[in-house]
């Protein structure tokens, strides 16, 4: 989907509400068999708003109670539990915390589907530097080497969303590198036909071809030990799509990965 109509010429930066991409982002969350044939876009928007509200009130509420009362049980009655009892309790608390994280990401995914991006001219170079600044402790902890092929062009996009996408890609580039290997990350961009394609290349573990599309699905994790819920790339793809762009990956196991995002240029 590459519709990206801004109303900036008409005055205030009103953005055409991009209903098809909202439906797409909802469908991306579902396995193919469960994908609805959404005829009535208005209804699907209402459905999403209802789901979002239900998650906030009906799901996260009881989850907070599981977490809070597990915590109170450990703090106040921990002494009367034997080690196995404590272990069970910690598993319950851990599961509730995990579920809360999943719910938060799911809410974010749904909210992002109905929010409108606020596109302005964004310097990819400045955005990359800001994100690397936030990741600096992880970069130095892993002694990672990061190369930016300057200059990086500007794109027409929502600056907050762009930073979120870049943070996700760079976080992955640092994370999925075997212990003992120095992470090497290369960032470069090229422009063509009204779009900028930004590449983030790593020397990580790589992704088998059969998994390359699925990694952009919600909650897919191929490494059980890695932290997070597996929503990051789905959120990144959704944000790109909502801004009229797209995402992709080229990779071979053991050969690193090259993730890319495409966003409209500023012209």
């Amino acid at each position: 989907m590459k519709q990206f109509s801004t109303g900036s010429e008409a005055g205030f930066g009103a953005i055409a509400f991009d209903l098809p991409s909202i439906a797409e982002s909802l469908e991306m969350a579902l396995p193919p068999a469960a994908r609805p044939n959404v005829a009535d876009q208005e209804l699907s928007l209402q459905t999403m708003a209802a789901v979002h509200s239900a998650l906030a009130h009906e799901v996260r509420g009881p989850l907070r109670w599981v977490t809070s009362f597990s915590e109170l049980l450990i703090q106040e009655r921990g002494a009367s539990l034997d080690p196995i009892g404590k272990d069970y309790l910690q598993r319950i608390a851990g599961a509730a915390a995990r579920l809360d994280e999943v719910m938060r990401d799911l809410q974010k995914f749904i909210a992002r589907g109905v929010q409108e991006p606020r596109p302005v001219a964004v310097s990819l170079e400045a955005a990359v530097c800001a994100v690397l600044g936030n990741l600096s402790s992880r970069v130095s902890a892993r002694n990672a080497q990061i190369t930016i092929q300057r200059p990086l062009p500007r794109v027409q996009a929502d600056p907050e969303w762009v930073e979120e996408i870049l943070a996700q890609l760079l976080d992955n580039a640092l994370k999925f590198v075997p212990a003992g290997t120095t992470p090497l990350v290369r960032i470069r961009a090229e422009s063509s036909r009204g779009f900028v394609r930004l590449y983030v290349e790593d020397n990580g573990i790589g992704i088998p071809a059969v998994h390359q599309e699925r990694i952009f699905d919600l909650f897919t994790r191929f490494n059980a030990e890695s932290p997070g819920t597996g929503a990051g790339l789905a959120l990144a793809r959704q944000a790109c799509a909502r801004m009229g762009g797209c995402t992709g990956v080229e990779s071979q196991p053991g050969q690193g990965s090259r993730f890319w995002i495409e966003l409209p240029t500023t012209e």
């Binding site: 509200s53 906030a56 009130h57 996260r60 509420g61 907070r64 109670w65 977490t67 809070s68 009362f69």
Partner: protein, 175 residues
């Protein structure tokens, strides 16, 4: 003698959240009396001093209201709206304590006169931090308006022989 701490009115229908708040208050050693009401209608009755909360010496005007937005029947927004129409009630600070952090709801709550908006904490330590913050600012540093003065007794309204409530008003008026 120190005046006894002003009570907190907690408008909340979820038993677990009522328990967690009270447990957090005890852990934080906050001894203000807490009156819980589970519906908007009972909040109105309490604040108006109507039955079953008619005895003001047992059910004094609160110094702070904690208000959930999702209540059965009339919701928290209705409580906020009603409060704005009551000169003696709208001077009592209200903090919304609720599940949603939807920008539209936050905005609507402030527009309806809320003095603060707090998300229900995700864990018990979060509840503890929240009540401690409330104590520091709302119960200790913040200066509250005085509760409405007791009615001055005149022969017409002096019903002191008839009950403890009026006797209480008489004692207060004499101070």
């Amino acid at each position: 003698m120190e005046p006894s701490p002003r009570p907190i009115l907690h408008v909340e229908d979820e038993a677990n959240d009522i328990h967690l708040l009270q447990r957090a208050l005890v852990s934080a050693e906050i001894w203000n009396p807490v009156q819980v009401v589970k519906t908007a209608a009972r909040a109105f009755a309490y604040l108006r001093g109507e039955e079953p909360f008619a005895k003001r010496d047992y059910y004094p005007i609160p110094g702070l209201i904690l208000l959930d937005l999702t209540l059965p029947s009339l919701d928290g927004f209705e409580v906020l709206k009603w409060r704005q129409s009551q000169p003696e009630i709208r001077i009592i600070p209200v903090l919304v304590v609720t599940n949603s952090q939807q920008p539209a709801e936050v905005r609507a709550a402030y527009e309806a006169g809320a003095n603060g908006y707090l998300a229900k904490p995700a864990n018990f330590n979060g509840w503890l931090d929240m009540v401690k913050a409330i104590r520091v600012f709302w119960l200790n540093q913040n200066v509250l308006p005085a509760p409405p003065a007791p009615r001055v007794l005149t022969p017409e309204n002096d019903v002191s022989r008839n009950g403890s409530l009026a006797r209480f008003s008489l004692e207060r008026a004499a101070v």
